[in-house]
Amino acid sequence: MIIAERKPLEEIRGMISGCKRILVVGCGTCVTICWAGGEKEVGILSSQLRLVRLASSREGKKLSIVEAVVERQCEKEMVIEELRDKMQDVEAILSMACGIGVQTVADVFEEKPVFPALNTTFMGMPEGEGVWTEKCGACGDCMLYWTGGICPVVRCAKGLLNGPCGGTRKGGKCEIDSEKDCAWVLIYRRLEKQGRLDLMRKYYEPKNYRAVKRPGKIEALEA
Protein backbone atom coordinates (compact mmCIF):
# COMPACT_ATOMS: atom_id res chain seq x y z
CA MET A 1 0.00 0.00 0.00
CA ILE A 2 0.92 3.63 -0.40
CA ILE A 3 1.97 5.44 2.76
CA ALA A 4 1.56 9.18 3.23
CA GLU A 5 1.70 11.80 5.95
CA ARG A 6 -0.33 14.94 6.29
CA LYS A 7 1.39 18.20 5.50
CA PRO A 8 1.73 20.78 8.29
CA LEU A 9 -1.40 22.85 8.81
CA GLU A 10 0.43 26.07 8.00
CA GLU A 11 1.42 24.82 4.57
CA ILE A 12 -2.13 23.66 3.76
CA ARG A 13 -3.56 26.93 5.07
CA GLY A 14 -1.29 28.82 2.72
CA MET A 15 -2.52 26.85 -0.28
CA ILE A 16 -6.17 27.66 0.30
CA SER A 17 -5.70 31.22 1.47
CA GLY A 18 -8.25 33.43 -0.25
CA CYS A 19 -10.70 30.60 -0.92
CA LYS A 20 -14.20 30.88 0.52
CA ARG A 21 -15.45 27.44 -0.32
CA ILE A 22 -13.37 24.32 -0.77
CA LEU A 23 -13.83 20.60 -1.11
CA VAL A 24 -11.72 18.42 1.20
CA VAL A 25 -11.65 14.94 -0.22
CA GLY A 26 -10.14 11.91 1.42
CA CYS A 27 -9.42 8.45 0.04
CA GLY A 28 -10.86 5.27 1.49
CA THR A 29 -7.99 2.95 0.68
CA CYS A 30 -4.26 3.18 1.50
CA VAL A 31 -4.22 6.55 3.24
CA THR A 32 -7.18 5.56 5.38
CA ILE A 33 -5.19 2.60 6.69
CA CYS A 34 -2.11 4.75 7.37
CA TRP A 35 -4.14 7.37 9.25
CA ALA A 36 -3.34 10.16 6.83
CA GLY A 37 -6.34 10.83 4.61
CA GLY A 38 -9.42 8.79 5.54
CA GLU A 39 -12.83 10.01 6.64
CA LYS A 40 -11.60 10.78 10.15
CA GLU A 41 -8.63 12.80 8.91
CA VAL A 42 -10.87 14.71 6.48
CA GLY A 43 -13.02 15.70 9.46
CA ILE A 44 -10.05 16.75 11.60
CA LEU A 45 -8.38 18.80 8.87
CA SER A 46 -11.65 20.49 7.95
CA SER A 47 -12.28 21.50 11.56
CA GLN A 48 -8.74 22.80 11.93
CA LEU A 49 -9.01 24.85 8.74
CA ARG A 50 -12.34 26.36 9.83
CA LEU A 51 -10.90 27.24 13.21
CA VAL A 52 -7.74 28.89 11.94
CA ARG A 53 -9.77 30.83 9.41
CA LEU A 54 -12.12 32.05 12.14
CA ALA A 55 -9.17 33.04 14.29
CA SER A 56 -7.47 34.91 11.48
CA SER A 57 -8.15 38.62 11.62
CA ARG A 58 -6.35 39.17 8.36
CA GLU A 59 -8.33 36.77 6.20
CA GLY A 60 -11.48 37.49 8.10
CA LYS A 61 -13.69 35.33 5.91
CA LYS A 62 -15.64 32.33 6.90
CA LEU A 63 -14.50 29.15 5.21
CA SER A 64 -17.11 26.81 3.88
CA ILE A 65 -15.95 23.25 3.48
CA VAL A 66 -17.57 20.36 1.66
CA GLU A 67 -16.26 17.05 3.00
CA ALA A 68 -16.08 13.86 0.96
CA VAL A 69 -14.31 10.55 0.70
CA VAL A 70 -13.75 8.62 -2.52
CA GLU A 71 -13.19 4.93 -1.99
CA ARG A 72 -10.25 4.92 -4.38
CA GLN A 73 -9.19 8.38 -5.47
CA CYS A 74 -6.85 6.91 -8.08
CA GLU A 75 -9.85 5.73 -10.13
CA LYS A 76 -11.44 8.34 -12.37
CA GLU A 77 -14.89 6.73 -12.40
CA MET A 78 -15.06 6.69 -8.62
CA VAL A 79 -13.91 10.29 -8.42
CA ILE A 80 -16.56 11.41 -10.91
CA GLU A 81 -19.28 9.36 -9.27
CA GLU A 82 -18.55 10.61 -5.76
CA LEU A 83 -17.68 14.23 -6.43
CA ARG A 84 -19.61 15.50 -9.47
CA ASP A 85 -22.58 16.67 -7.39
CA LYS A 86 -20.43 18.29 -4.73
CA MET A 87 -18.57 20.79 -6.85
CA GLN A 88 -21.05 23.65 -6.76
CA ASP A 89 -19.30 26.95 -5.90
CA VAL A 90 -16.18 25.04 -4.85
CA GLU A 91 -13.17 27.22 -5.64
CA ALA A 92 -10.49 24.66 -4.94
CA ILE A 93 -10.10 21.01 -4.02
CA LEU A 94 -7.88 19.84 -1.21
CA SER A 95 -7.05 16.21 -1.86
CA MET A 96 -6.10 14.01 1.06
CA ALA A 97 -4.95 11.17 -1.17
CA CYS A 98 -1.54 10.08 -2.34
CA GLY A 99 0.01 11.90 -5.30
CA ILE A 100 -1.83 9.57 -7.66
CA GLY A 101 -5.21 10.49 -6.20
CA VAL A 102 -4.37 14.19 -6.32
CA GLN A 103 -3.54 13.92 -10.01
CA THR A 104 -6.63 11.89 -10.81
CA VAL A 105 -8.85 14.53 -9.22
CA ALA A 106 -6.89 17.25 -11.01
CA ASP A 107 -7.44 15.49 -14.35
CA VAL A 108 -11.17 15.04 -13.73
CA PHE A 109 -11.81 18.62 -12.61
CA GLU A 110 -9.35 20.43 -14.85
CA GLU A 111 -10.93 23.82 -14.32
CA LYS A 112 -10.35 23.74 -10.53
CA PRO A 113 -7.08 24.10 -8.68
CA VAL A 114 -6.31 20.89 -6.77
CA PHE A 115 -3.95 21.01 -3.79
CA PRO A 116 -2.22 18.11 -2.02
CA ALA A 117 -2.84 17.93 1.71
CA LEU A 118 -0.50 14.95 2.10
CA ASN A 119 3.09 14.13 1.37
CA THR A 120 3.26 10.72 -0.27
CA THR A 121 6.22 9.01 1.36
CA PHE A 122 6.64 5.39 0.27
CA MET A 123 5.17 2.00 -0.52
CA GLY A 124 5.04 -0.13 2.55
CA MET A 125 3.00 -1.94 5.11
CA PRO A 126 1.66 -1.56 8.65
CA GLU A 127 4.36 -2.92 10.93
CA GLY A 128 2.41 -2.43 14.16
CA GLU A 129 0.01 0.03 15.77
CA GLY A 130 0.70 3.36 14.06
CA VAL A 131 3.93 2.17 12.45
CA TRP A 132 4.43 1.79 8.70
CA THR A 133 7.64 0.78 6.98
CA GLU A 134 8.88 1.00 3.41
CA LYS A 135 9.13 -2.26 1.53
CA CYS A 136 9.15 -1.68 -2.22
CA GLY A 137 10.63 0.91 -4.58
CA ALA A 138 8.85 -0.24 -7.74
CA CYS A 139 12.18 -0.71 -9.51
CA GLY A 140 10.58 -2.91 -12.18
CA ASP A 141 13.23 -5.61 -11.80
CA CYS A 142 12.34 -7.57 -8.66
CA MET A 143 15.19 -9.46 -7.03
CA LEU A 144 13.34 -10.60 -3.90
CA TYR A 145 13.84 -14.23 -4.82
CA TRP A 146 17.61 -13.85 -4.41
CA THR A 147 17.43 -11.96 -1.17
CA GLY A 148 15.17 -14.01 1.06
CA GLY A 149 12.16 -11.82 0.43
CA ILE A 150 13.85 -8.70 1.84
CA CYS A 151 14.33 -5.83 -0.59
CA PRO A 152 17.84 -4.32 -0.53
CA VAL A 153 16.86 -1.70 -3.09
CA VAL A 154 14.78 0.24 -0.58
CA ARG A 155 15.51 -1.35 2.78
CA CYS A 156 19.25 -0.76 2.49
CA ALA A 157 19.70 3.00 2.91
CA LYS A 158 22.13 2.96 -0.01
CA GLY A 159 20.27 0.42 -2.14
CA LEU A 160 23.35 -1.81 -2.30
CA LEU A 161 22.98 -5.07 -4.21
CA ASN A 162 26.03 -7.05 -3.13
CA GLY A 163 26.09 -6.96 0.64
CA PRO A 164 26.34 -4.53 3.56
CA CYS A 165 28.39 -1.35 3.55
CA GLY A 166 31.19 -0.84 6.03
CA GLY A 167 29.10 1.45 8.15
CA THR A 168 26.90 -1.22 9.71
CA ARG A 169 26.59 -0.60 13.44
CA LYS A 170 27.02 -3.12 16.25
CA GLY A 171 24.24 -5.66 16.32
CA GLY A 172 23.49 -5.23 12.63
CA LYS A 173 21.96 -1.77 12.66
CA CYS A 174 22.03 0.76 9.84
CA GLU A 175 24.80 3.36 9.45
CA ILE A 176 22.33 6.21 9.40
CA ASP A 177 19.88 5.08 12.06
CA SER A 178 20.70 2.88 15.02
CA GLU A 179 16.99 2.06 15.32
CA LYS A 180 16.81 0.54 11.86
CA ASP A 181 18.07 -2.87 10.88
CA CYS A 182 20.77 -3.26 8.25
CA ALA A 183 18.85 -4.88 5.39
CA TRP A 184 21.86 -7.00 4.47
CA VAL A 185 22.16 -8.40 7.96
CA LEU A 186 18.46 -9.31 7.76
CA ILE A 187 19.02 -10.91 4.37
CA TYR A 188 22.02 -12.80 5.69
CA ARG A 189 20.06 -14.16 8.65
CA ARG A 190 17.10 -15.23 6.57
CA LEU A 191 19.15 -16.92 3.87
CA GLU A 192 21.20 -18.65 6.57
CA LYS A 193 17.98 -19.95 8.14
CA GLN A 194 16.93 -21.30 4.73
CA GLY A 195 20.34 -22.81 4.01
CA ARG A 196 20.62 -20.61 0.92
CA LEU A 197 23.62 -18.39 1.73
CA ASP A 198 25.06 -19.21 -1.69
CA LEU A 199 22.56 -16.69 -3.04
CA MET A 200 24.29 -13.95 -1.07
CA ARG A 201 27.67 -14.99 -2.48
CA LYS A 202 26.37 -14.50 -6.01
CA TYR A 203 27.49 -11.33 -7.81
CA TYR A 204 24.67 -8.98 -8.79
CA GLU A 205 25.28 -6.76 -11.80
CA PRO A 206 24.57 -3.02 -11.67
CA LYS A 207 20.85 -2.44 -11.69
CA ASN A 208 19.02 -1.89 -14.96
CA TYR A 209 17.34 1.46 -14.50
CA ARG A 210 15.55 1.03 -17.82
CA ALA A 211 13.61 -1.98 -16.59
CA VAL A 212 10.75 0.49 -16.38
CA LYS A 213 10.85 3.23 -18.97
CA ARG A 214 9.94 6.37 -17.06
CA PRO A 215 7.31 7.62 -16.94
CA GLY A 216 5.97 4.11 -16.57
CA LYS A 217 3.08 2.85 -18.68
CA ILE A 218 1.76 -0.66 -19.11
CA GLU A 219 -0.75 -1.49 -21.83
CA ALA A 220 -2.04 -4.94 -21.00
CA LEU A 221 -4.43 -5.23 -23.93
CA GLU A 222 -1.72 -4.53 -26.46
CA ALA A 223 0.42 -7.30 -25.00
Binding site: P164, T168, Y203
Partner: protein, 296 residues
Protein backbone atom coordinates in the same frame (compact mmCIF):
# COMPACT_ATOMS: atom_id res chain seq x y z
CA UNK B 1 58.04 7.22 -2.93
CA UNK B 2 58.04 7.31 -6.73
CA UNK B 3 57.82 3.53 -6.86
CA UNK B 4 54.53 2.34 -8.36
CA UNK B 5 52.28 1.07 -5.61
CA UNK B 6 51.65 -2.17 -7.47
CA UNK B 7 55.37 -2.90 -7.34
CA UNK B 8 55.51 -2.01 -3.64
CA UNK B 9 52.72 -4.50 -3.01
CA UNK B 10 54.74 -7.17 -4.78
CA UNK B 11 58.08 -6.52 -3.18
CA UNK B 12 57.77 -4.87 0.23
CA UNK B 13 57.39 -6.73 3.50
CA UNK B 14 55.56 -4.12 5.47
CA UNK B 15 53.58 -1.59 3.47
CA UNK B 16 52.59 1.77 4.86
CA UNK B 17 50.02 4.12 3.40
CA UNK B 18 48.50 7.25 4.84
CA UNK B 19 45.50 9.37 4.16
CA UNK B 20 45.46 13.00 3.11
CA UNK B 21 42.12 14.71 3.56
CA UNK B 22 41.42 17.45 1.01
CA UNK B 23 40.70 21.01 2.03
CA UNK B 24 37.22 22.51 1.91
CA UNK B 25 38.09 25.30 -0.48
CA UNK B 26 41.02 25.95 -2.77
CA UNK B 27 43.78 26.84 -0.35
CA UNK B 28 45.83 23.77 -1.06
CA UNK B 29 48.97 24.98 0.72
CA UNK B 30 48.46 22.90 3.84
CA UNK B 31 47.64 19.83 1.79
CA UNK B 32 50.83 20.35 -0.20
CA UNK B 33 52.79 20.62 3.06
CA UNK B 34 51.32 17.31 4.18
CA UNK B 35 52.14 15.72 0.84
CA UNK B 36 55.74 16.99 1.03
CA UNK B 37 56.03 15.75 4.59
CA UNK B 38 54.65 12.28 3.90
CA UNK B 39 55.47 11.35 0.32
CA UNK B 40 58.87 9.80 1.05
CA UNK B 41 57.81 8.22 4.33
CA UNK B 42 54.89 6.17 3.05
CA UNK B 43 54.32 3.91 0.04
CA UNK B 44 51.10 5.53 -1.06
CA UNK B 45 48.92 8.48 -0.16
CA UNK B 46 45.16 8.01 -0.22
CA UNK B 47 42.94 10.95 -0.96
CA UNK B 48 39.39 10.76 0.33
CA UNK B 49 36.40 11.39 -1.92
CA UNK B 50 34.08 13.89 -0.20
CA UNK B 51 34.89 12.08 3.01
CA UNK B 52 32.00 11.67 5.47
CA UNK B 53 29.78 13.06 2.72
CA UNK B 54 31.25 16.52 3.32
CA UNK B 55 31.84 18.43 0.08
CA UNK B 56 35.52 19.21 -0.43
CA UNK B 57 38.32 19.64 -2.95
CA UNK B 58 38.05 16.58 -5.19
CA UNK B 59 40.01 13.42 -4.66
CA UNK B 60 41.29 13.51 -8.24
CA UNK B 61 42.50 17.10 -7.77
CA UNK B 62 44.46 16.27 -4.66
CA UNK B 63 45.86 13.14 -6.35
CA UNK B 64 47.18 15.38 -9.12
CA UNK B 65 48.88 17.54 -6.49
CA UNK B 66 50.50 14.40 -5.10
CA UNK B 67 51.75 13.52 -8.60
CA UNK B 68 53.07 17.03 -9.08
CA UNK B 69 55.01 16.64 -5.85
CA UNK B 70 56.40 13.25 -6.84
CA UNK B 71 54.27 11.15 -4.54
CA UNK B 72 52.28 7.99 -5.23
CA UNK B 73 48.56 8.78 -5.04
CA UNK B 74 45.75 6.33 -4.30
CA UNK B 75 42.51 7.72 -5.67
CA UNK B 76 39.51 6.97 -3.47
CA UNK B 77 36.31 6.61 -5.46
CA UNK B 78 32.94 6.30 -3.80
CA UNK B 79 29.61 5.38 -5.40
CA UNK B 80 27.66 8.03 -3.53
CA UNK B 81 28.02 11.11 -5.72
CA UNK B 82 28.42 9.94 -9.31
CA UNK B 83 26.65 7.53 -11.61
CA UNK B 84 28.33 4.91 -13.76
CA UNK B 85 29.10 7.31 -16.59
CA UNK B 86 30.71 9.94 -14.38
CA UNK B 87 32.76 7.40 -12.44
CA UNK B 88 34.17 5.80 -15.59
CA UNK B 89 34.96 9.19 -17.12
CA UNK B 90 36.76 10.29 -13.96
CA UNK B 91 38.74 7.06 -13.91
CA UNK B 92 39.86 7.62 -17.50
CA UNK B 93 40.87 11.18 -16.69
CA UNK B 94 42.78 10.23 -13.53
CA UNK B 95 44.74 7.48 -15.25
CA UNK B 96 45.59 9.72 -18.19
CA UNK B 97 47.24 12.05 -15.67
CA UNK B 98 49.35 9.38 -14.03
CA UNK B 99 47.10 8.28 -11.17
CA UNK B 100 47.37 4.51 -11.24
CA UNK B 101 45.87 3.30 -7.98
CA UNK B 102 42.23 3.33 -7.05
CA UNK B 103 40.42 2.39 -3.85
CA UNK B 104 36.83 1.34 -4.58
CA UNK B 105 34.39 2.32 -1.85
CA UNK B 106 30.67 2.49 -1.26
CA UNK B 107 30.85 5.91 0.39
CA UNK B 108 29.44 7.17 3.66
CA UNK B 109 25.77 8.01 3.67
CA UNK B 110 24.65 11.49 2.63
CA UNK B 111 22.97 11.67 6.04
CA UNK B 112 26.26 11.98 7.93
CA UNK B 113 27.53 14.86 5.79
CA UNK B 114 27.00 18.57 5.27
CA UNK B 115 24.63 18.35 2.28
CA UNK B 116 21.97 16.23 3.89
CA UNK B 117 19.30 17.09 1.33
CA UNK B 118 21.35 15.87 -1.63
CA UNK B 119 20.25 12.97 -3.81
CA UNK B 120 22.33 9.89 -2.97
CA UNK B 121 23.45 8.24 -6.21
CA UNK B 122 24.73 4.71 -5.43
CA UNK B 123 24.15 3.74 -9.07
CA UNK B 124 26.92 1.18 -8.46
CA UNK B 125 28.01 -0.53 -5.26
CA UNK B 126 31.62 -1.15 -4.29
CA UNK B 127 31.71 -4.69 -5.69
CA UNK B 128 30.26 -3.53 -8.98
CA UNK B 129 32.75 -0.64 -9.01
CA UNK B 130 35.63 -3.12 -8.81
CA UNK B 131 34.15 -4.98 -11.79
CA UNK B 132 33.90 -1.67 -13.66
CA UNK B 133 37.57 -0.84 -13.04
CA UNK B 134 38.54 -4.35 -14.12
CA UNK B 135 36.59 -3.82 -17.30
CA UNK B 136 38.34 -0.50 -17.96
CA UNK B 137 41.63 -2.31 -17.28
CA UNK B 138 40.75 -4.77 -20.04
CA UNK B 139 40.35 -1.95 -22.54
CA UNK B 140 36.57 -1.82 -22.53
CA UNK B 141 33.96 0.27 -20.75
CA UNK B 142 31.56 -1.53 -18.42
CA UNK B 143 29.08 -2.25 -21.21
CA UNK B 144 31.73 -3.68 -23.50
CA UNK B 145 32.56 -0.79 -25.81
CA UNK B 146 36.22 -0.60 -26.86
CA UNK B 147 38.26 2.21 -25.31
CA UNK B 148 40.64 4.21 -27.43
CA UNK B 149 43.46 3.80 -24.93
CA UNK B 150 42.74 1.74 -21.83
CA UNK B 151 43.91 1.94 -18.24
CA UNK B 152 45.75 -0.41 -15.92
CA UNK B 153 44.71 0.43 -12.39
CA UNK B 154 46.07 -1.21 -9.28
CA UNK B 155 42.78 -1.88 -7.49
CA UNK B 156 42.02 -1.71 -3.82
CA UNK B 157 38.95 -2.19 -1.67
CA UNK B 158 38.01 -1.88 1.97
CA UNK B 159 36.91 -4.31 4.65
CA UNK B 160 35.43 -3.90 8.12
CA UNK B 161 37.12 -6.28 10.58
CA UNK B 162 35.15 -5.01 13.56
CA UNK B 163 31.72 -5.52 12.01
CA UNK B 164 29.12 -7.18 14.19
CA UNK B 165 27.93 -9.57 12.83
CA UNK B 166 31.06 -10.23 10.77
CA UNK B 167 29.66 -12.93 8.47
CA UNK B 168 27.78 -10.69 6.00
CA UNK B 169 30.91 -8.50 5.77
CA UNK B 170 33.06 -11.54 5.03
CA UNK B 171 30.74 -12.56 2.22
CA UNK B 172 31.07 -9.11 0.71
CA UNK B 173 34.83 -9.23 1.26
CA UNK B 174 34.94 -12.47 -0.70
CA UNK B 175 32.91 -10.92 -3.51
CA UNK B 176 35.42 -8.06 -3.69
CA UNK B 177 38.29 -10.52 -3.94
CA UNK B 178 36.43 -12.51 -6.60
CA UNK B 179 35.94 -9.29 -8.54
CA UNK B 180 39.71 -8.87 -8.48
CA UNK B 181 41.55 -6.57 -6.09
CA UNK B 182 45.26 -6.13 -5.46
CA UNK B 183 45.00 -4.74 -1.96
CA UNK B 184 42.67 -4.17 0.96
CA UNK B 185 42.78 -1.20 3.29
CA UNK B 186 40.61 -1.97 6.29
CA UNK B 187 38.45 0.35 8.32
CA UNK B 188 39.85 1.37 11.68
CA UNK B 189 41.24 -1.48 13.75
CA UNK B 190 41.50 -1.15 17.54
CA UNK B 191 41.01 -4.60 18.98
CA UNK B 192 43.92 -6.69 17.71
CA UNK B 193 42.48 -10.00 18.93
CA UNK B 194 39.35 -9.31 16.93
CA UNK B 195 41.51 -8.27 13.98
CA UNK B 196 43.52 -11.50 14.20
CA UNK B 197 40.30 -13.48 14.05
CA UNK B 198 39.30 -11.47 10.99
CA UNK B 199 42.68 -12.12 9.37
CA UNK B 200 42.40 -15.84 9.98
CA UNK B 201 39.10 -15.93 8.17
CA UNK B 202 40.30 -13.54 5.47
CA UNK B 203 43.32 -15.73 4.78
CA UNK B 204 41.08 -18.73 4.35
CA UNK B 205 39.32 -16.78 1.62
CA UNK B 206 42.50 -15.48 0.00
CA UNK B 207 46.08 -16.14 1.03
CA UNK B 208 47.78 -13.61 -1.18
CA UNK B 209 45.86 -10.36 -1.29
CA UNK B 210 47.73 -7.60 0.54
CA UNK B 211 45.84 -6.44 3.58
CA UNK B 212 46.69 -3.15 5.31
CA UNK B 213 45.18 -2.59 8.75
CA UNK B 214 43.43 0.75 9.13
CA UNK B 215 44.90 2.84 11.94
CA UNK B 216 42.87 5.80 13.16
CA UNK B 217 44.49 7.31 16.26
CA UNK B 218 41.99 8.67 18.77
CA UNK B 219 43.18 11.58 20.83
CA UNK B 220 40.69 11.64 23.67
CA UNK B 221 37.82 9.77 25.27
CA UNK B 222 35.34 12.38 24.12
CA UNK B 223 36.54 12.11 20.53
CA UNK B 224 36.33 8.31 20.72
CA UNK B 225 32.74 8.45 21.91
CA UNK B 226 31.90 11.00 19.23
CA UNK B 227 33.46 8.81 16.55
CA UNK B 228 31.57 5.74 17.74
CA UNK B 229 28.33 7.65 17.42
CA UNK B 230 28.97 9.60 14.24
CA UNK B 231 31.70 8.12 12.07
CA UNK B 232 30.45 5.17 10.03
CA UNK B 233 32.47 2.00 10.43
CA UNK B 234 34.36 3.11 13.54
CA UNK B 235 34.00 1.30 16.81
CA UNK B 236 36.52 2.23 19.52
CA UNK B 237 36.41 -0.39 22.29
CA UNK B 238 35.60 0.70 25.85
CA UNK B 239 39.05 -0.23 27.21
CA UNK B 240 40.71 2.24 24.83
CA UNK B 241 38.19 4.92 25.80
CA UNK B 242 39.02 4.22 29.46
CA UNK B 243 42.75 4.40 28.76
CA UNK B 244 42.27 7.75 27.05
CA UNK B 245 40.03 9.01 29.83
CA UNK B 246 42.72 8.25 32.39
CA UNK B 247 45.42 10.15 30.50
CA UNK B 248 46.37 13.45 32.22
CA UNK B 249 44.82 16.57 30.76
CA UNK B 250 46.61 17.84 27.66
CA UNK B 251 48.24 14.50 26.89
CA UNK B 252 45.40 13.11 24.76
CA UNK B 253 47.26 13.46 21.47
CA UNK B 254 50.41 11.80 22.73
CA UNK B 255 48.35 9.04 24.36
CA UNK B 256 46.48 8.45 21.11
CA UNK B 257 49.74 8.32 19.21
CA UNK B 258 51.18 5.94 21.79
CA UNK B 259 48.24 3.54 21.44
CA UNK B 260 48.44 3.66 17.63
CA UNK B 261 52.21 3.15 17.68
CA UNK B 262 51.93 0.13 19.94
CA UNK B 263 49.39 -1.41 17.61
CA UNK B 264 51.49 -0.83 14.51
CA UNK B 265 54.53 -2.36 16.22
CA UNK B 266 52.55 -5.42 17.23
CA UNK B 267 51.01 -5.84 13.78
CA UNK B 268 54.45 -5.67 12.26
CA UNK B 269 56.28 -7.87 14.76
CA UNK B 270 53.63 -10.58 14.75
CA UNK B 271 53.15 -10.26 10.98
CA UNK B 272 49.40 -10.06 11.53
CA UNK B 273 48.90 -8.54 8.08
CA UNK B 274 50.88 -6.91 5.29
CA UNK B 275 51.02 -3.33 6.49
CA UNK B 276 49.07 -0.41 7.84
CA UNK B 277 46.99 2.42 6.46
CA UNK B 278 47.16 5.43 8.76
CA UNK B 279 44.23 7.82 8.80
CA UNK B 280 45.03 10.69 11.13
CA UNK B 281 42.39 13.02 9.81
CA UNK B 282 43.17 16.67 10.44
CA UNK B 283 46.53 15.81 12.01
CA UNK B 284 48.40 14.50 9.00
CA UNK B 285 51.54 16.28 10.21
CA UNK B 286 51.69 13.87 13.16
CA UNK B 287 51.97 10.76 10.94
CA UNK B 288 55.79 10.89 10.66
CA UNK B 289 55.95 10.91 14.47
CA UNK B 290 53.88 7.72 14.58
CA UNK B 291 56.02 6.07 11.93
CA UNK B 292 59.22 6.98 13.73
CA UNK B 293 57.92 5.77 17.07
CA UNK B 294 56.79 2.52 15.45
CA UNK B 295 60.27 2.06 14.07
CA UNK B 296 59.31 2.41 10.42
Amino acid sequence: MTRPFRETLRTKDFIVTAEAGPVKGINTQKMIEHIELLKDKVDGLNVTDNQSAVMRYPSVGACLLIKEHSGEPILQVTCRDRNRLAIQADLLFAYSRGIKNVLCLTGDSIDVGDHKEAKPVFDLDSVQLIHVVRSLNSGKDMVGNELDGGVDYCIGASATPSADPIEPQLIKFEKKLDAGVDFIQTQAVYDLDEFKRFMERARKIDEKVKILAGIVPVVGAKMARYMNENVPGISVPQYIIDELAQAPKGTGVSKGIEIATKMIRQIREEKICDGVHIMFIGREEKVPEILEAAGI
